[in-house]
């Protein structure tokens, strides 16, 4: 089964709506609560990333009995060095933003820790 959600850039009030919707579906499908937790925590992290850093995008969630496959597709600045971005603690946030408590550099780590597999592709300078 496939579900698609459009994610609006910059609208933090709605960040989390797609995650909540996916969570509800997984509960209805009787998926183990601990697995739902992992899926939703990583999805929410990704959803907020689209809202915060990209110019909008979409989430495609594909569910079957053996696995849940989620694609987060956005158009934005891109990630120049994925390997570096994946390092725990790496962040593009300015000192000022970090002072506010954001940009700890744990977002992608958090997704990776909760997912069984994480694949990131990025092209810089497309748009």
């Amino acid at each position: 089964m496939q579900f698609e959600y459009n994610i609006e850039a910059g609208n933090f009030t709605k960040a989390g709506d797609a995650s909540s919707s996916v969570k509800k579906i997984l509960k209805q499908l009787n998926v183990d609560p601990q697995i739902i937790k992992r899926i939703v925590v990583s999805l929410y992290e990704g959803e907020v990333n689209i809202v915060a850093h990209a110019n909008g995008g979409k989430i495609i969630c594909d569910i079957d009995t053996s696995r849940v496959h989620i694609q987060l597709i956005d158009v934005g600045p891109g990630i120049p060095d994925i390997e570096k971005a994946m390092q725990a603690g790496f962040s593009t946030a300015s000192a000022k933003v970090r002072e506010m408590g954001f940009g700890a550099g744990m977002g992608l780590q958090n997704i990776k820790n909760n997912a069984d597999e994480l694949i990131i592709k990025s092209e810089v300078g497309v748009k």
Partner: protein
């Protein structure tokens, strides 16, 4: 039907029916029903007479219901005059619990945020709607169970035969009754029976109003601390928790917040005090007085000095006994949202449900007997409803000739009962 936060109510044959596996005993339907059709089952008051020693476990909110002019000793006297032999305030176990919760938090740093086990409707809500959070619930007895254990032990130590002791809880809500009749996290309940708070309130108030002073006035033992008096109010627990804590009351507010917790949207909170009723137990459905006044009265009680509390308080002698028994069993998820045990079947049902939803008007009118169009679509997929129960579908099918007006009427009668239609045609 629409006020139920877990969509547990349907209308069939003119009556509301309840999906028990979804009901969390929050009491919202009881508050909303205009004709008081919903009643809360209690034990017959006469049942207390089956015991030689009749204990009333009275929560602090009971005292908060009476006007300021009525003194506490009058209330005590009236309770005893109505047939009880002993009174224990439910919150007497609070000080001991408050300390134990702090120790629990230290030894379970990984389970953040910890969720209080105080409100039984919240425990059930977490089980059915937020199964992944069941492991965050603090596995310690609520004050009621601690006090029940304590009063039984104290009386049997005085040489009283346990079989002659009847412990009756004066309950402010339906959830507490369910927690006693079918306890979660406990093998059995220490409580013999339940008396609805409004029942005892009426008896006590009547006695006070017609006081004939046949009983000598009873001077209550002074043993509840300020913490204990206010424990059942909103912020009663949260104020005493070290670290970052939040107090949230009213079940819809709780649901909204737990959704966010479950998504991992909100981190670094140490403790959640969650209560199903607005103004917590002061807003219990079985209270007679206004909830804001009850809360205000309890908050305005002058705190006793520490020495006064310990002088009137014999629970300290039982601290070790109670602490050894304060744990409860792990609380298991009881998800109500699943469409089927088998994921493949559940997916087929979900597919059917979403196809049905596309045919429905999305007006959420409730005429079909389900609380909204989404719930109705699920009911169809689960085989518990027929799409022809929707009046919009009926109109369409009458137009195309697939359904006769008589058939439509019969369907509506099967949902709302014959009476609704009789009176209109006259």
């Amino acid at each position: 039907m629409n006020v139920c936060p877990t969509e547990a109510i349907r209308v069939r044959n003119g009556k509301a029916i309840l999906y028990e596996n979804r009901c969390v005993d929050c009491g919202e339907c009881f508050k909303a029903c205009p004709v008081s059709a919903i009643f809360i089952d209690q034990d017959d008051f006469k049942r207390i007479q089956a015991y030689k020693y009749r204990i009333a476990l009275v929560p602090a909110v009971f005292f908060g219901q009476f006007p300021e002019e009525i003194e506490q000793n009058q209330i005590y006297t009236a309770i005893l005059a109505n047939g009880f032999t002993h009174i224990y305030e439910v919150e007497i176990g609070v000080d001991l619990l408050a300390e134990e919760v702090k120790r629990y938090a230290k030894s379970h740093p990984e389970k953040k945020p910890l969720i209080s086990s105080f409100c039984p409707a919240i425990i059930r809500l977490v089980q059915v709607k937020f199964p992944a959070l069941t492991e965050n619930i603090i596995l310690l007895k609520p004050p009621l169970d601690i006090t029940a254990l304590y009063c039984r032990k104290e009386l049997t130590d005085q040489g009283i035969n346990p079989a002659e002791i009847g412990v009756f809880y004066i309950t402010p809500c339906a959830a507490k009754i369910a927690a006693i009749k079918s306890p979660v996290g406990e093998d059995y309940s220490m409580i013999t029976g339940v008396i609805n708070m409004d029942t005892l309130y009426n008896k006590v108030y009547k006695y006070i109003r017609n006081d004939r002073s046949t009983h000598p006035a009873v001077i209550p033992k002074k043993h509840l601390s300020k913490t204990a008096w206010q424990w059942a109010l909103t912020h009663g627990e949260a104020l005493h928790f070290p670290g970052r804590s939040l107090a949230i009351d009213e079940i819809h507010n709780v649901i909204e917040f737990l959704e966010k917790i479950e998504n991992g949207e909100i981190g670094d909170i140490d403790f959640l005090e969650l209560r199903a009723c607005d103004e917590s137990c002061a807003g219990g459905v079985l209270l007679s007085a206004n909830r804001f006044l009850v809360a205000e009265r309890l908050r305005s009680y002058t705190p006793l000095a520490k020495e006064e509390i310990s002088a009137g308080n014999s629970i300290q002698a039982y601290t070790d006994y109670l602490l050894r028994r304060i744990s409860i069993q792990p609380i298991n998820p009881r998800s109500m949202m699943k469409l089927d045990e088998n994921m493949e079947v559940a997916m087929r049902k979900m597919d059917k449900s979403s196809r049905m939803l596309q045919c429905l008007p999305l007006t959420d009118c409730g005429a079909c007997g389900s609380p909204n169009c989404q719930a109705f679509a699920n009911d169809i997929a689960l085989g518990e409803a027929d799409i022809r129960q929707c009046i919009f579908i009926q109109k369409n099918r009458e137009q195309t000739g697939e359904l006769t007006p008589d058939e439509s009427l019969e369907i509506l009668k099967s949902i709302w009962g014959n009476d609704k239609f009789f009176s209109n045609s006259k």
